[in-house]
């Protein structure tokens, strides 16, 4: 077990290292960078003070150095202007666009993103698992067809469109604005009970909008998995034992059909952060998605780099969690040989 974990950690680290190099390479691929673009602009406008500051920042962050040197400094394995200060030391760099440390720019947004998306994941599972069980056990019944139809409808509707429609009608019918994650009056305020309530109220629409698309896909997959398992012999054995139908279903075929979803956790985690960008833009949610988009557009390299690295770490970590969970839940994986 310990040997296995050690091996996994070493491969995880190597993977992350390669990803970091790729991330940096891709950000650096387009010519120029945020500051030199800005300097060009400022020169054109003849603002000497700002130019001087920008040039100071270029020196400070070594943007005049070759790309590989910048990468090593960013990583924290090569001394920069302030000695060793990079990702490894916990210094996530400076966002030029916001003129603040990356940590401050991303901090709140990161937690709100996780909050929104965890709510979405819970919503998806709460809605789709019962529906999937219903339509799998009553295959080709009217209820199955209705669930399937609604599922396809949800799958085919673009989320941002649904968000726009909801935005419009909730304003017209109820006179409320559902954009953002809390009322405008709470912006910049410290956390309070009223702010929390406002947050919960504003969570409903994004959860619904982002969740519906996922729910449809989840119902279809869960139903197909469950249908496979329902035909298996061990389910007949369970019934022949005299188990009540509900218990027989949940203990045996349902448990078996969960495996693919546990294996999916690795993909789910990064999706929590980088997914649903369009909906976030439409609903003006203060989440990471829009920030990443603008950072990539304006070549705000440390901000973009940090967010991408964060997603990568979540992916790799998610894979580990799902592997461990699978091994814990499925004795065949736990004890089976490496065939």
């Amino acid at each position: 077990m310990i040997r296995f974990l050690l091996r996994r950690f070493v491969t995880m680290l190597v993977t992350l290292l390669i990803i970091s190099a790729l991330v940096f390479l891709i950000i650096k691929l387009p010519p120029g960078d945020f500051l030199s673009n800005q300097i060009a602009e400022l020169r054109a406008q003849g603002e000497a003070d700002a130019v001087a500051k920008a040039e100071f920042l270029i020196k400070q962050y070594g943007l005049d150095k070759p790309a590989w040197e910048q990468y090593l400094v960013w990583l924290g394995v090569m001394p920069g202007q302030n000695g060793f200060s990079g990702l490894l030391q916990g210094d996530w760099g400076w966002s030029f666009e916001y003129d603040r440390p990356v940590f401050e720019v991303v901090g709140d947004a990161l937690w709100l993103t996780l909050l929104v998306n965890i709510a979405v994941v819970i919503f998806i599972h709460l809605v789709s698992i019962p529906i999937a069980i219903y339509s799998a056990t009553r295959q080709y019944s009217v209820g199955d067809y209705i669930a399937t139809f609604i599922g396809y409808l949800g799958l085919a509707t673009p989320s941002f469109l649904l968000a726009l429609i909801l935005l419009y009608y909730s304003n017209r019918w109820f006179g409320i604005s559902i954009g953002g994650l809390f009322d405008a009056r709470f912006a910049g305020q410290p956390w309070s009970w009223a702010k929390f309530q406002s947050l919960l109220a504003h969570l409903i629409v994004p959860t619904l909008v982002i969740g519906l698309a996922g729910t449809a896909a989840m119902i279809r997959r869960m139903r197909a998995n469950l249908l496979d398992e329902l035909g298996k012999q061990y389910y007949v054995t369970a019934k022949a034992k005299g188990l009540p139908p509900g218990r027989a279903l949940l203990k045996y075929p349902f448990r078996m059909s969960l495996n693919p979803f546990i294996a999916d956790i690795g993909n789910l985690l990064p999706h929590l952060v980088s997914g649903s960008v369009l909906v976030s833009l439409v609903l003006s949610l203060p989440t990471v998605g829009p920030i990443l988009l603008s950072a990539l557009k304006s070549q705000d390299q440390f901000l973009a780099g940090f967010i991408l690295m964060f997603v990568a770490i979540l992916t790799v970590f998610g894979m580990l969690v799902s592997d461990l969970l699978l091994a814990w839940l499925d004795p065949r994986i736990r004890m089976g040989g490496g065939r």
């Binding site: 012999q233 007949v236 054995t237 188990l243 139908p245 040989g337």
Partner: protein, 635 residues
């Protein structure tokens, strides 16, 4: 066939009521093509404490009957008519099962409580995610008011009773950690923990090796004597029936063809179907050159006129394996990283003469498939070589390259065990049969078309089948398609890996006869791998018996069955149930499970760990493997 009523006023009706009596039972399936009656007016009784065998081919409605008794029919099926009356000895009144709804509390109390069932495939019948302790104790917890500890205690007792060596440990093991035999024992424990009045066993031993089969049948018999339960045994194997049944019910297409006590059924079979079924089963006591009579004979249209291909035949054996050895390394578990070495094949030498059949017999896991794979060159041996002689002298198969290798591939073809998974469901018969020709670039499309039709004629299938897909054929027809495909390239050698073990007895005879006819007509040589000794006895000329990667005995068919010398061969022979009630199984002899461990064989056969022993010829062509120790003593 009608039974007298059970509740009439005749004096003999004061006799004990049967445990279960089925009257005029009909089960309908709703299919896309309309209603289909799988069981049609079935009537029979299961007396208390007796074993009733329900016999028939697949599709005869045996399993559907069992499912109807437990009300676990699939959603498409329902009981259309008839009664199933259960006279539980623990209750005064009788229960009318057919009138209960499947999910009712009364039905659930019967299911698994008073009537239990075990299934054919012990691997898939148990959930792989739950320990067997959990699954067995669950049955008790559902039906009786017991605490969790009490249930586990009872589970341990019943596991010990069905023969688990370490019941405490067994509670925490998962099904995939167990051998097939132990899994079936766990199933039996699960069925019997509630002490049911009736056990329904649906092909309980079909998926098991002969020696394991004998042990499981023995166990069921013992438990029956202990608890006084009745057993409904569903099987297609008349050998099993002859050994364990008290009464026999023969089914065909949902109806009873014949029923009665075992003695009567086996000695005076009346119905032509039953007589035909008995003639279709290979037996040991068959006369030389006696032919099996399949229930539905298939005539090969062109075989009589088929000519042997013109080719130079080798002087010696066409295929020879010399001293083949293969080791596998297993990692035992993800997390431990320990490595185990398994000797799958240990110094195996075989010789296959032209136009003859060499039978390779052994239980699952003995290495016979590994040997056939190395001969196919699908796997490299660690040591030893395979020699193939196409008339130009023997050449090492594993050193062939280019055209020589292609020729070898043409000359040696394979017939697989499972006719369902070995044919691509998305290819038509025409595509399946001509694919080998296309791969080897033989002929143009006209020639291939004619060849495909010729092949269908050879295996006795209709020429019009060319445009159809495999799913529209039955198991036996598919296996004949597999044979036709193997013949497409005019091979010299066919390697048949358990070609009939997935087939029904009636179809098995068809395929075996076809293989025999093809051999005679085309001068083919067969390597016939099987675990069924009676089948090998019917088709092979020379037989090699394998155990734990060793060939322990090799002899011409007649001398092997007349004079089996090695203890393992003797045990294998003793474990085959013969459909002849005068030759019952000797259960006591098979109870000692020592014959498959080389270090527990008696001297001079004993092999120590890692020891290879030597083959010694005791009469012409008859060789046995002896331990090193005895050889040294003799020297």
């Amino acid at each position: 066939m009608r039974y007298r009523g059970v509740t009439g006023s005749h004096p003999e009706e004061f006799m004990e009521k049967p445990l279960l009596s089925i009257r005029d039972l009909a089960v309908d399936f709703e299919t896309e093509t309309g209603r289909f009656r799988a069981v049609d007016g079935l009537s029979f009784d299961i007396p208390k404490g007796k074993t009733v065998a329900l016999v028939g081919e697949s599709g005869s409605g045996k399993s559907v009957t069992a499912q109807a008794i437990l009300q676990i029919l699939s959603k498409k099926a329902h009981i259309a008519a008839g009664t199933i009356t259960f006279n539980d000895p623990e209750r005064a009144d009788s229960i009318e099962i057919a009138a209960l709804t499947p999910d009712s509390t009364d039905m659930r109390a019967l299911r698994g409580g008073r009537i239990s069932m075990i299934f054919q495939e012990p691997m898939t019948s148990l959930s792989p995610l739950h320990t067997i302790g959990d699954q067995i104790s669950e049955a008790l917890v559902i039906h009786q008011q017991v605490s969790q500890e009490e249930a586990l205690e009872r589970t341990k007792e019943v596991l010990a009773r069905v023969g688990f060596p370490d019941p405490r440990r067994a509670l925490r093991t998962y099904p995939f950690e167990l051998s097939g035999g132990l899994r079936q024992r766990a199933m039996i424990a699960m069925a019997l923990i509630t002490r049911p009045a009736l056990l329904i066993a649906d092909e309980p031993t079909t998926a098991l090796d002969v020696t394991t089969q004998a042990q499981i049948l023995d166990l069921i018999k013992e438990l029956q004597a202990e608890t006084g339960m009745s057993v409904l045994l569903i099987t297609h194997d008349l050998g099993v029936v002859a050994n364990v049944a008290d009464e026999v019910v023969v089914m065909y297409r949902g109806r009873v063809m014949e029923s009665g006590p075992r003695e009567v059924i086996f000695r005076h079979a009346q119905h032509p179907y039953l007589q035909a079924l008995m003639r279709a089963v290979p037996r040991f006591a068959m006369a030389e050159n006696e032919r099996l009579t399949p229930i539905r004979e298939v005539k090969s249209a062109t075989l009589e006129t088929a000519h042997k291909p013109e080719r130079t035949e080798p002087k010696g054996p066409i295929l020879k394996a010399e001293n083949l050895t293969k080791c596998f390394t297993l990692r035992s578990g993800w997390f431990s990283g320990r490595i185990r070495k398994i000797h799958a094949v240990n110094g195996v030498s075989l010789a296959l003469p032209v136009g003859k059949t060499l039978g390779l017999v052994g239980e699952s896991g003995c290495g016979k498939t590994t040997v056939s794979k190395m001969i196919m060159r699908a796997m490299e041996p660690d040591t030893g070589q395979v020699l193939f002689d196409d008339g130009t002298g023997p050449r090492n198969v594993h050193e062939l390259e280019g055209d020589a290798l292609k020729d070898y591939r043409r000359s040696v073809q394979f017939i697989f065990q499972d006719p369902f998974s070995s044919l691509n469901p998305r290819m038509t018969v025409y595509e399946i049969l001509t694919e080998p020709l296309i791969i080897h670039g033989i002929g143009d499309s006209d020639m291939r078309y004619h060849r495909a039709k010729e092949l269908l004629d050879m295996v006795g299938l209709d020429r019009r089948a060319l445009r159809r897909y495999p799913h529209s054929f039955s198991g036996g027809q598919r296996q004949r398609l597999g044979i036709a495909r193997a013949l497409a390239l005019e091979p010299r050698v066919l390697i048949c890996d358990e070609p009939v073990s997935a087939l029904d007895v009636s179809v098995q005879a068809q395929v075996l006869n076809l293989l025999k006819d093809l051999q005679a007509a085309l001068d083919l040589s067969y390597l016939f791998v099987s675990h069924n000794l009676a089948v090998v006895d019917y088709i092979a000329d020379t037989i090699a018996v394998m155990c734990r990667g060793y060939i322990v005995e090799q002899a011409p068919k007649t001398s092997l069955f007349r004079n089996p010398v090695h203890p393992y061969t003797q045990a294998l022979l003793a474990a085959v149930p013969d459909p002849d009630i005068d030759r019952p199984l000797d259960f006591a002899k098979l109870r000692a499970d020592r014959f498959s461990h080389p270090d527990q064989w008696p001297e001079p056969f004993r092999l120590q760990e890692g020891e290879a022993g030597v083959m010694k010829e005791i009469e012409p062509g008859h060789q046995i493997r002896l331990g090193q120790l005895s050889v040294k003593e003799a020297a």
